[in-house]
Amino acid sequence: SLRLQPLEAFYWAVQLIGRLVGLVLLVATLLAVFNFSFGIRRLYIRILLHLFEQAVEKRRPPSRKESSDNLSRDNRLIQRHAKLTTEGIELLHADCASSDDPSKASTSSQKRPFHLSDLCVFVQSGIESIIEDEVTKRFAAEDLASWNLLTRTNKYQFISSRLTCYWVLGCFLRYCILFPFRMLLALTAVLYLVIGSLIIALLPWPGLRRYLNSILTPTAFRLFARAFSAVLRFHDVENMPQNNGICVANHTSPIDVVVLGCRQVFSIVGQSHGGFTGFMQKTLHRTSPHIWFERSESSDASVVKRKLEEHVSTPGLPPVLIFPEGTCINNTSVMMFRKGGFEAGGVVYPVAIKYDPRFADCFWNSSACGMVTYLFMMMTSWAIVADVWYLPPQIQQEGESSRQIAGRGGLVDLQWDGNLKRSKPKSSLQEQHREAFRKRIYGLSVTDQMEGSGAG
């Protein structure tokens, strides 16, 4: 009987743990359903931040701001001479050299003949932008102050033994303690969604189905969010997308869907996949219309456009969720959509999502790792901290929603970037710079005398 006791105790312990875990999962589900939070995750985030600052030697004092809308540090590496912005070429007088150069800026309004050295300002601006540009700077800035003890983001810190120790502890915490629990939460969320959707799909009344789905889907997503220890902050909620609207969001990560889906039901536009993603797509589709299209269809812009128009004009349908930069949407479709898609009269709701890079590296390199690997990486990061801004709705004009989104600090150029890569004729910004350059060069307007030596 002495032998049996340890075994009994073991079984008893397992049962207890099992019950505890089950209880916690149940509580988590209930919390998700009722959208209530004990604030544990927020506390966790605060502790983490505190730890990061303690553990790592600071390079320069970080700005102490609560929100992740951290403003650019004024620590520049170079003094810019010339910047190409949306307003044109900005020439800045820089007198870092001992001799002050009467810069060409003062004569920029005068026309003069082209000279081989006219290249210089563009070359300067080009090389300067390689060193430092507004976009990448904002994201890198947050990394500089401290290392967040994730291997994948540690690329430049020289590791001391103290740091290594913290890192090992961190690994243990993330992989052995947090991850299994998060995995269970995620599985619970999937189960909850699948079973819930199966039940709802059986009911004969569309109205009731819609109502129940409006409870089921957001709560399932909230549960998912908990599986990532997500701390989400929503701003300007009065601008939340309404039915039959079109929600345009910048795309950083597949998690965007979860983040936005926590608050409301969307009809997601996307390419149908196989595997786990495909399974989730089918599950979601059971209870609410989404717009999935086949790979072959994605190259046919009119198909996508038609489906979108149909959706937007049918009253009572949830707003459409589009990620213009998402790799699942073919370039030409988006171009076509942006130009003509809004003739259907859909109101556009731009949304900006920004992730705090201190807690997780949300960039998904789809060629390097698949969805499941990516989710694993997210679940073994510290947390997902995101800010969501609901921008004022508008009737779309070409390129306008991008500019709107561009107004938010830190996101300027995510959308801008997407635009630039999209358009096949070179972007209008480039044309703008060319026009400005032409204006400075004598001999290139219709009314000017024709330049050139007679021998030509």
Partner: protein
């Protein structure tokens, strides 16, 4: 992550790089962070696409020429090459005429940007190409071509005159200039216009 080691230069390497480029340790660290930020695929080296991803560079009308000259003989740049390139554009150090950032090196890069076929001379066609790129559809083709011709011809004449050659052997149009002629044409360009101002 086998390339991680190439991303973080060790102490000795840093000293060498400092010596060669004239950049401080702090500046090198900043550039290292920048390099890593640009290196999205974490390969330990930068490709053309990594740089094209910079929006401000993308809208630059001469970006293709710049990148062509930058990636002239290679497909990717490691950190050392990256830093050496950038250091070339540091303002000239008066006391070190043969250093990496001498005027000739800067002008050589500009020359390379024009000289697309790498034959060691800038031809009228090449100036024409550059002008076309700078002007886009805003320049009339005939005007642009004649401007290109004028530029090359005048630069060649200028250089010949400065070297005491009063008349060109063949009386017609000159359609290319070599590096010394280019250097001469750029003689009034200050170092300030050719350099990047690094803050310490």
């Amino acid at each position: 992550m086998g390339s991680v080691s190439s991303l973080i230069p060790d102490e000795n390497q840093i000293k060498d790089i400092q010596e060669e480029t004239g950049l401080s340790k702090e500046q090198l660290q900043r550039l290292n962070s920048r390099f890593i930020a640009l290196d999205k695929q974490s390969e330990g080296s930068l490709r053309r696409e990594d740089l094209e991803r910079i929006p401000e560079l993308y809208v630059n009308p001469v970006s293709q020429f710049l990148l062509d000259a930058f990636f002239r003989d290679r497909n990717e740049i490691n950190f050392l090459e990256f830093v050496k390139f950038l250091a070339t554009f540091r303002p000239v150090d008066e006391g070190r005429p043969t250093s990496i950032n001498r005027r000739e090196a800067k002008l050589r890069f500009l020359f390379d940007m024009y000289d697309l076929d790498r034959d060691g001379v800038i031809s009228v066609d090449e100036v024409h190409r550059m002008l076309e790129e700078l002007l886009g559809r805003h320049g009339r083709p005939d005007q642009v071509l004649s401007i290109a011709r004028r530029i090359v011809h005048e630069a060649a004449l200028d250089y010949a005159a400065a070297n005491g050659v009063a008349e060109m052997p063949s009386g017609g149009q000159i359609d290319s200039i070599d590096f010394p002629a280019f250097e001469h044409a750029m003689r009034n360009v200050s170092d300030h216009q050719l350099s990047i101002c690094f803050l310490s």
